[in-house]
């Protein structure tokens, strides 16, 4: 797979604060990446450096194999940072014309991208009359003008109402479906889980994980079990080699799987020991649980 972006040991200090502390990751073509981390974990700083608006303290990176962020590379990237920044006194169309001139794109694209985000009818209205959701959609339209190979989104649904959030997510999904590589920074686990195939987890400026969402933790999931005879059930489970940890929670047993075992196999085994289950669920950890687990491990 071709690497679109490679980041090596990137650091940024603001005075005494290490906003980004020697992080490394790479972004492969065609995937949707989530840059995940709580507020203040260095997501925006990292994106700022990669988009050349912030000067790094240390480290290097390359876009499409070229070191740093040359201006020509920025024209191949569509990026939305924090709040939508536009000339408030100009219409949507005029704002996009400025971006067209900057990116050397034909004005014909303006109508196409406005259609994509559903703002075609408002193109002659001043930017200052737009709602936050519309402003955010105009940002996406602006980022899509040059048909970018990579789309960078920094908290694109921040501050939007549920309807706005759904609209933005749908637009992102349709862009991803066209094969555009997307790097999405968010503190919303749920959002990353819904949209991304890969995830980079940041905490206090350190990257904890970079890879597929599905391969995030080594654990193979867990069973939630209940039976009339809980002590015997627990005893039996402890004898089995498939489980790494068994704990009681809400009158149910949680058995973490170490070696693969299906629900059917477990049920058959327990039946043979004359243990009858009233509750049997096999689950994978949600991204949220995996995330919390990772954060805990690295404390």
């Amino acid at each position: 797979m071709e690497n679109i972006l490679e980041v090596r040991n990137l650091s940024k200090r603001f005075g005494k604060i290490n906003a980004v502390n020697s992080i490394s990751f790479s972004v492969e073509k065609g995937n949707v990446y989530g840059l995940l981390g709580p507020n203040g974990s260095g997501k925006s700083t990292t994106l700022g450096i990669l988009l050349s608006t912030l000067n790094p303290t240390e480290g290097s990176w390359s876009w499409f194999g070229q070191p740093g962020t040359p201006t020509d590379v920025l024209k191949r990237i569509g990026a939305i940072i924090e709040h939508p920044n536009f000339y408030t006194f100009l219409s949507a169309e005029k704002n996009l014309k400025i971006v067209c001139e900057i990116k050397n794109v034909n004005y014909d694209r303006i109508n196409e991208v406005l259609q994509l985000v559903g703002l075609a009818e408002r193109k002659n209205d001043k930017f200052s009359t737009f709602s936050l959701g519309m402003k955010q959609r105009l940002s996406i339209a602006s980022a899509m003008l040059s048909s970018p190979e990579v789309l960078i989104l920094d908290e694109p649904t921040n501050g939007l109402d549920p309807e706005g959030i759904i609209q933005i997510r749908e637009i992102i999904r349709s862009i991803a479906a066209q094969g555009t590589t997307i790097l999405l920074a968010s503190h919303l686990l749920d959002e990353v889980e819904k949209v991304c195939s890969h995830v980079i987890i940041l905490k206090k400026g350190v990257s904890l994980y970079c890879g597929k969402v599905s391969a995030m933790t080594a654990t193979k999931g867990y069973f939630i079990l209940q039976s009339s005879n809980m002590t015997e059930l627990k005893h039996e489970l402890e004898k089995m080699t498939e489980f790494s940890e068994i704990k009681t929670e809400d009158n149910k047993l949680i058995a973490s799987i170490e070696h693969d075992i299906t629900a059917e196999q477990l049920n058959r085994h327990l039946l043979s020991k004359e243990i009858y289950l009233s509750h049997l669920v096999k689950q994978k950890e949600s991204l949220e649980e995996q995330f919390l687990e990772l954060v805990k491990q690295n404390q």
């Binding site: 201006t71 920044n85 014309k97 001139e101 050397n104």
Partner: protein, 282 residues
């Protein structure tokens, strides 16, 4: 370059402060030159400018460029408001992310400044020619072009003044801070000039009471705003009334030191602007 001009045009043309200040400025410049033929009170004395030889070639250039030069703050306001808007609304940052290099951004602003200065110079030149041909005693070609330095001096005065404002606006971003800093800078230059004048220049008068103080080059003349104002000297010393009072005959000399230091300051301010754009985190 065409692309950058198009970008600047799109950005600025419908911006309210630009429309406001440019219409005020250009109507004042044109209006001012049109009332020149009238009697206006200066220093409490009503002086008919026409009688004082103001509208004769070549001193008409000195006169027009000096007085229209006083209005340059309105051009300055256009620069301050547009640049401040780029930085306070994070539009500069967005431009960079969209793929405009810092060099291109600076160059587009220099283009705007140059065009504004050229436009103003062009108007002053046309008004000078119109007034000169209507009122000047002589319209010989060599007289018309004799002091054409003032046209260049005027352009340079506007250009260096606007680069100075570009620099402090990029440095401070907010309009209020820019106004405050500009005002303080102005006052400080005046105070320094007065102090140096008091301590270095000994005023001398001859028997008839004429001022024969020796002219020396003051260090404070090299301060940015002083240098810019020295590009176009005040024209009062050459009007007939004053000449008859002092008995001296005015001779015009090109202020080379002001030309060189103004160009130097412009380069310094533009480089400083670029340095801030590059080194600061946006």
């Amino acid at each position: 370059m065409k692309r950058l001009i198009r970008i600047e045009w799109l950005k600025n043309f419908s911006y309210f402060p630009v429309i406001l200040f440019s219409s005020i400025y250009f109507s004042l410049v044109i209006g001012f030159t049109l009332i020149c033929a009238q009697t206006i009170p200066i220093f409490g004395i009503s002086i008919k400018l026409l009688d004082q030889g103001f509208l004769d070639f070549p001193q008409i250039w000195n006169f027009l460029t000096y007085f229209t030069g006083l209005l340059k703050i309105f051009l300055g306001l256009i620069v301050i408001f547009t640049i401040s808007n780029e930085f306070t609304n994070k539009l500069f940052k967005q431009n960079i992310i969209d793929g405009l290099s810092r060099k291109e951004f600076l160059f587009s602003k220099v283009l705007t400044i140059t065009l504004l200065s050229l436009l103003s110079t062009g108007i002053v030149v046309s008004m000078g020619l119109i007034l000169g041909f209507s009122f000047s005693k002589s319209t010989e070609l060599n007289l018309i072009f004799k002091e054409s330095y003032f046209i260049l001096g005027y352009f340079l005065k506007l250009f260096s003044f606007l680069t100075f404002l570009l620099f402090i606006t990029v440095l401070l971003k907010r309009v209020v801070f820019v106004f405050l800093t500009f005002f303080i800078w102005w006052v400080v230059e005046i105070i320094l000039t007065v102090i140096e004048y008091q301590s270095r220049v000994i005023e001398k008068f001859d028997e008839s009471g004429r001022n024969v103080t020796e002219k020396i080059q003051l260090l404070t003349d090299y301060l940015p705003l002083n240098t810019m104002s020295k590009l176009v000297e005040e024209p009062f010393q050459r009007i007939r009334l004053i000449e008859s009072m002092t008995g001296g005959k005015y001779t015009f000399e090109i202020p080379y030191f002001a030309v060189i230091t103004s160009i130097g300051y412009s380069i310094l301010f533009l480089y400083g602007t670029f340095y801030i754009m590059k080194k600061r985190d946006w």
